[in-house]
Amino acid sequence: MTPSVFFQLIFNGIAIGLVYVFMASGFNLILSVTGIFFITFGMFYALGAYSTWWLTVQAGLPYFGSVAISTVATAAGGVFLYLVVMRKIRTGEQAMLRVLIASIMLVTLLTQVVLHLFGTSPRGITPIFKGHWKIAGVVIGLDRVAVILISVAILLILHFFLSRTRIGRGMRTVAFNPDVAALLGVNSEKVFITTIAVGLGLVGFAGGLMAPILGIDITMGSAGFMVLLVIILGGVGSMIGSIMSGILLGIVLAFSQFYVSAGVGQIIFFAVVGIFFFFRPGGLFGSPPPDPIDGVGSLTGSRIKSLPGRKTVIVPLAILVLAIILPQVVHNSYYMHLMILVVIFAVTGMTFTFGMRSGMINVAAAAFWGIGAYATGLLMVKGGLTFWQALPLAVIISFVLALILGGVICRFAGMSGMMFGIVFSSIVPVAFGTFELFGKQSGLTGIPGIENLGFLHFGSKASYYYLVLAFAIIGMIIMLAFTKAWTGRSWLGLGSSQKLAESVGIDPFGYRVINFAIMSVIPALLGTAYACYLGAIQPVTFGPFIGINFQIVAFVGGLGYLVAGPIVGALFMTFLPELLRVAGSYEPIITACIIILVIMFMPSGIIGSQDARLMAAWRWVSKPLRRAGTPVPVPVDREGAK
């Protein structure tokens, strides 16, 4: 590497890094002040870019005027979403999780809106500043110099705003300690709205500013995932941390893009942050934030069955019988396909509920589903194994990966752990799409079907359905067995209050790693069969936006219900888009809106919100059937009554 190449890459890296600096600063500000995990910010970057493009190219306005208007518009759009959606769900039952799901659904929603408004083709804006200097072989583009100078100016203004103005200081007080802020008479609603406006305005501004250099397309929204790494590295709430690690990411990307590919750069950065994070949970500059996830497993208001409690076998049995006879009744192959998806969604949704009980918001299920599928595919296509030989190997590979990743995530289960999991779920498809081994973007093709095993014959859709169902049942039984064992109670304790659980001798790390490994290996198990079922797999099948569906499945059904919740949620999530087919290309928008409404207005899910009615119905139906339960004996009170 010549020095000129080196400096050229550093220079380019800083320019790219500024995108991440802006996004990270905006998101970090919102997260630390309002506590809202507004991961939708990635889309505001795209919105800023698109609207700048539209205003300059279509409406013919001057570039800087367009950027200014776009900045104001994105800020206003953000405030609108805050007022309509986030304000309602940012406190109360399962706030953290609801905000996460809603903000990811908003990404889906805004993506569709952008596609409808601006079309699918990439756009560009001609740069304002043309020409370049050449210093010692390094090409210094004037456009980039301008971007760097403007960014420095904006960041200085932001710093001034936060430290010198009244409202800015109010924001910092709220971030530091909301209770104290309330005592000091800081109007937190006003502070929140300002924060959202400033944070998302910043992101929208970056979109407009970078559009002439980096071009515009719809994948810009996913840059949000890499930004989470920047925040983990820099520390939640640390502006200087965001700046330093954003630029570092830019430089890593510039180098890897030049020598290998951007995908490799993302993977390297992910690994570096993972290793770093393992040793320094607070990031470079921040201190470990107070954990908003602690207590996520305590489902106040919903009904978790007491562990040694009574059993009703009738409902699960009925569902099982129904699931078994269904293929005999339904012969439509498309519906069979949907049923396979329902089964996968149900059990994967269940892994989410399962993990949440130990206080983890697991977002890596789709990635492990993909790991199981790719491992099987590779072993069969490149290794020449049969499915039944590949199966145990694929499961072991997934299990080992789950232990490694779990080791990192569970060390500091909580906000940063969750963010790291989200990044993992977006990095795994990137890895599939980057390396030749995995067939890059076109994926693995020609995966053979499953060989017959004794009297089991594979070929029809129904046979795959039965296999997936069998795997799902195995997964469910494993999860239920561990839930009923003493591990289950310790997990529940950890999920309810980590501090108290530790004080009675529960090792949070060890217990969570076991939990994580189990809940990750089950999607992988389903992935093995899925690979053979499809015959060809692509990275997009296992992307982070698929992964969010698993969480929605668990949530929509009702998090208080380990088995029934995900089943109801899976049926809902699979058939809702089918019912909305009539809406044509507007279907994804309507689906996303409905899901957001469910999250807003049914905090305990479909079953949870109908719990009383369902229970009454169930009592009525089961009266003649019910076996004598064995409720916990309540002794006659001696000392308590006075």
Binding site: S497, A501, V504, P635
Partner: protein, 258 residues
């Protein structure tokens, strides 16, 4: 008399603030030691340091002859120090009975495999633990609430449940942080008798409490702290009448102490 718990020159700084300053504390086997002092004296911080929840700045904590300074909280809990928190933490969302069963965490003998496959041994152990849990709940007078949720209980019962969870972990030393705060006189009378009975079970108790009536009626010995330092220690009459102690409490109402 043998020392069961000891801190040597224990110090904790939060940034510039010295919350605990070179504290030497000795706890003897089988006693009930009271740790008193005005708000912000550093009492809860001492508990946090002993139980491993706060990293120690300097000094050591010795328990049962072993140095446990900066050990992980769950290891300290397994070694035999349990804690009931000032904020009366409980496991929300689980029944009162399950709350106590979580507390039994370290007394499981059945292996994980046995428990997962629900072998006969595991099931009978489970039954035993339920019986033991009910016994503890009875002992604290909240057994009739076994199937309720802690978040629905009145404050006094939540405090009692916090003690029950701590007791379930079968500690040698129990650290109680303001067990009677916010209780009416009859509730705190109950707490007094519970603390006495806990000691009868062979558990050494360290109690932080502002209610002087409770302190006087349970403690064998008192240590008074102010600004992170030990002001004085000795038997309750001596400490509560000590002029420096009265002075430390002044501002807050010397009448409480006198």
């Amino acid at each position: 008399m043998t020392l069961i718990l000891e801190t040597k020159a224990l110090t904790k700084r939060f940034g510039g603030l010295v919350a605990v300053n070179s504290l030497d504390l000795q706890v003897e086997q089988g006693e009930i030691l009271g740790l008193i002092g005005p708000n912000g004296a550093g009492k809860s911080t001492v508990f946090g340091l002993i139980s491993g929840f706060l990293p120690v700045t300097s000094g050591t904590v010795v328990f049962d002859g072993h140095d446990i300074t900066n050990h992980h909280p769950y290891k300290i809990a397994r070694a035999g120090i349990a804690r009931a928190f000032q904020q009366s933490l409980t496991f929300r969302g689980m029944t009162v009975l399950d709350n106590v069963l979580v507390g039994f965490h370290k007394s499981h003998d059945a292996s994980l495999t046995a428990s997962v496959f629900r072998t006969k041994g595991a099931r009978s152990e489970e039954k035993e633990l339920v019986a033991k849990a009910i016994e503890i709940l009875e002992f604290l007078g909240i057994a009739h609430l076994a199937n309720d949720r802690p978040e629905n209980l009145p404050h006094g019962h939540q405090k009692a449940l916090g003690v029950a969870i701590a007791l379930a972990s079968e500690p040698k030393v129990l650290l109680l942080d303001e067990p009677a705060t916010g209780m009416n006189p009859s509730e705190s009378d109950m707490m007094i008798s519970h603390i006495h009975q806990v000691r009868k079970r062979g558990v050494t108790v360290v109690v932080v409490e502002h209610d002087m009536r409770v302190v006087r009626s349970v403690c064998d010995r008192l240590v008074c702290m102010n600004f992170g330092e030990k002001l004085c220690e000795g038997d309750p009459d001596y400490v509560t009448s000590h002029p420096e102690v009265c002075e430390a409490y002044l501002g807050k109402g010397a009448a409480d102490v006198a």
